[in-house]
Amino acid sequence: MTRTGPNGPGRSGARPRVRVLPDHVANQIAAGEVVERPASVVKELVENALDAGAQAIRVLLEQGGKGRIRVADDGCGMMRQDVLASLDRHATSKIRDAKDLQEIRTLGFRGEALPSIAAVSRIVVETAVEGGDAGTRVRALAGRIQSVEDAARRRGTTVDVRNLFLNTPVRARFLRNVALETRAVAEVLHALALAHLDVRFVFETNGRFHLDLLAGRRLEERVGEIWEDASLIPVSAREGGMRLDGAVQRPDNARSGFRRAQLFVNGRPFRDGRILAAGDRGYRTTVPEGVRGWLFLFLTVPPDQVDVNVHPGKAEVRFRDSAGVEDFVEASVRKALEGVDSAATWGKPPPVQMVRERPPDGDGDGDGRNAPAAADRSQIRLFRTPDDAQEAHDATPADHAADAFSPQAPRPALLQVHNSFILAETRDGVIIIDQHAAHERILYERITARFEAGGGEGQRLLFPFTVRLTSAELDVVRSASELLAKTGFDVEPFGAHALLVQAVPSPHPHFDAERCIREMLRELAEGSDLMRAARNQNERVAMSYACKGAIKAGQKLSEEEMQDLFDQLFATDLPYHDVHGRPTVVRLGLDELRRKFRRS
């Protein structure tokens, strides 16, 4: 393999962009073949196209890529000597020296894509630059340039690869069937398409269109075009030098079983089970055990915080502070679930403000051009204010409570139905609150705060009572008496099989302390789905207390009690989710109502 490319004289006065890497740089780069199957060819070629600033990329596949792979773009194109250099291994326009490797911000950087592909196929590269004299067509067979000629074409590059692995029959034999190879290519394209919303992607196989993704779409729209409408809500957070954008699925729409997920770091797709798990942790208590939401997360970290060069396919990366990144992802996903967008809806959800800024047009090596844009979520206030013009003025608190309900805004009229649900008018429809689920959330957050801050608020009883317990329940009391005290229960063993209760919590006027402590101890001793979802004893006690202590369905509430419940719910961090992963609130949008009544 040659490492010095043909250094032809510069043409048209433009400075050649492609240089040949010095050997020591080439050696630093992880070894390994880039080309193992059609999907990797497509990945390399499409990344090159994106680096060339393409606005539209067309991918054509025949026989799953075994017959033909063609990637055409409208990017900046290459000059003739660049084309020739680029067919040579380690010729790249992106890296000049070893220290640049620390700051890689473009997608393809190894300078090995084209020559590696060319080495194992029959390849035709057609390219033209803007304002160049003429385009160039280069044909190569098994890595040897066969012909170089002028070609009339518009700006951009088309790489046409046939007879992949023509000279490596062993590799060719390892290819899977057409359907599987096609699917692998599609997966590569999906990831790239999600990261480049401003680029049009066309994917065609054997003359049939698989995908035609128009440019300038929002992430949720692109996800909807690729798969299905997943009911996504935006994620946007920053901390230190890190940023996380993207979208996650509304908890109410999440299902158990298969889910879609894609991670990106600095615009590059990667796989990392631990970061996905961190994202799933962000969903805790908002979805039932075993259910996972779709995640499309774009991490932006300073380039020196991530090593993308650990895997030849660049599918895995290594973070300098992986625990910090995981915590950040968990917190950011959780924060996205705090807002009204994460509430369950009836019918089509009211539109979400998911604005992603268009990445600036880069020239191929500008920094940040692949950085995911900030999801600028405008503050959506759920409830009406008497004067909407006042809104900008009093929307001071930037936290989620403001986007749902601000204490300055008047509380809507509340109507209890079937002694179980509370209806309220909102800016864009109505919400229905499940009184039990809502109160669970309130109690859960109050009790976890108390566990952290210490201190309980037991109401001492005029008439202490005793509860008979099983020995398993007594064991729970022994191991958790301090936590029980923090919830407000002052208990002590009373004989061998009973418990004396001297003080109890007092979370609402209809609270049945005796039933609550009985049910809690039974649940803690015998376990339940909720208990299995908890991470530790604190959570088990807090969840069990929230669930057993909350206002029950069927409880008639006074106007004042409803108002308290409402105010307290919207003062919590996750007002739209109880602790079992069920919704506390269901939104019924005005649009949906109009649709149902057939009013346009």
Binding site: Q459, L462, D564
Partner: protein
């Protein structure tokens, strides 16, 4: 049936019974009032089966008879009638109302469908004035439990003793007990558990000057005056032994002005908005300090002068309980007595002008 009545008396009678007419019922006749005209008297009756209210209004009865008619409709209609004598007659199950030129026919239901009245024997009744009943009811009903698992505590204990009548209500966190002198002294003593709603109904219906007979038969309690009757189903069960929990050895005593205390607690309650509405009371020589901290909301503090010369003590209370209790105390000085921050605090009128005692169990302070 045929009688003539003034519009005013008709409205008055109907509004008195309307409170006992259920808004929603599976038994249609319960939304009707029973009209009984006999012997120059008109009796109106409404019931929801648990509570029955009867009232007598003056009427000129030409022909006696009994019928039921839709209560709310008749009440609405009576309000709209012109200022003329109203003549009401019945044909079959239909009620005819004639007032000036206005004429109505309302469909009623046969009187046989109306539930029969609880049979309460007033022969050995207790006697009580409307004023004494009001005193008992107003000072206790606020303290009943709102939690439904122990129906006993949803009721008010009424102890009828030889010398006095005592009413007690508690939800297990705080308790109110008031006593009035029995006049004349009662013959039989009895302990009853009565629904607070029925007591409030009765208290509202009988004027302070009225003389009442109160009697129990089976599981019903009846109140009767000259022109009104209230019947209620008693709550069955054994009331907890409240006397045992009233501390006898509370040795730290503070007295404070009732109205100043109410005002200060009211201010604290604004900030103590989350259950259990914890407010800290710091008893210091001649000074009561109150303070509240609510996470995410803020803090409040206040000071009130008081007479206190024992060792300083801090006790946590549910601000709402404190407000209800002190707010129900008669104006003037209120006496707080306690022993430790873990035990019940007793609150009473300092001058004993009323035989009234409340106690509140503290919240844990940490």
């Amino acid at each position: 049936m045929n009688f003539t009545i003034t519009r005013e008396n008709l409205v008055k009678g109907l509004s008195a019974v309307s409170a006992s007419i259920p808004a929603k019922t599976s038994l249609p006749v319960l939304s009707n009032v029973l009209l009984e005209a006999d012997d120059g008297e008109l009796w109106l009756t409404g019931t929801d089966l648990d509570l029955t209210v009867r009232i007598k209004v003056p009427a000129e009865v030409k022909e006696s008879g009994t019928i039921t008619a839709p209560g709310k409709k008749l009440q609405e209609l009576a309000r709209e009638l012109p200022e003329h004598p109203v003549t009401i007659s019945a044909t079959g199950h239909q009620l005819e109302v004639q007032c000036g030129w206005s004429h109505f026919k309302l469909n009623g239901l046969p009187k046989e469908e109306f539930p029969s009245l609880p049979e309460v024997e007033f022969e050995d009744a207790w006697q009580i004035t409307g004023k004494a009943l009001a005193e008992l009811v107003r000072r206790t009903t606020f303290a009943v439990s709102t939690e439904e698992s122990r129906p006993i505590l949803n009721g008010v204990l009424w102890e009828l003793k030889r010398e006095n009548m005592v009413m007690v209500a508690t939800n297990g966190h705080r308790l109110a007990r008031v006593s009035v002198v029995a006049d004349p002294p009662t013959e039989a003593s009895e302990s009853l558990i009565v629904s607070p709603a029925a007591l409030q109904q009765a208290q509202g219906l009988f004027g302070e000057s009225s003389e009442l007979a109160v009697a129990k038969s089976g599981n019903h309690l009846g109140f009767r005056s000259e022109d009104a009757e209230v019947y209620t189903r008693l709550i069955e069960g054994k009331y907890p032994n409240y006397e045992q929990v009233i501390p006898k050895d509370n040795d730290k005593v503070a007295t404070i002005d009732q109205q100043m205390m109410v005002a200060a607690v009211r201010r604290m309650a604004v900030v103590a908005s989350d259950p259990p509405h914890r407010t800290r009371l710091a008893f210091e020589p001649n000074r009561l300090r109150l303070d509240v901290t609510t996470p995410d909301l803020g803090e409040a503090a206040d000071e009130v002068e008081m007479d206190y010369d024992n060792a300083a003590e801090q006790i946590g209370f549910n601000a709402n309980y404190l407000l209800e209790v002190v707010g129900n105390m008669p104006k003037g000085e209120v006496r707080f007595s306690f022993k430790t921050a873990e035990r019940a605090t007793v609150i009473e009128p300092a001058d004993k002008s009323v035989d009234y005692l409340c106690l509140i169990m503290p919240l844990r302070l940490e």
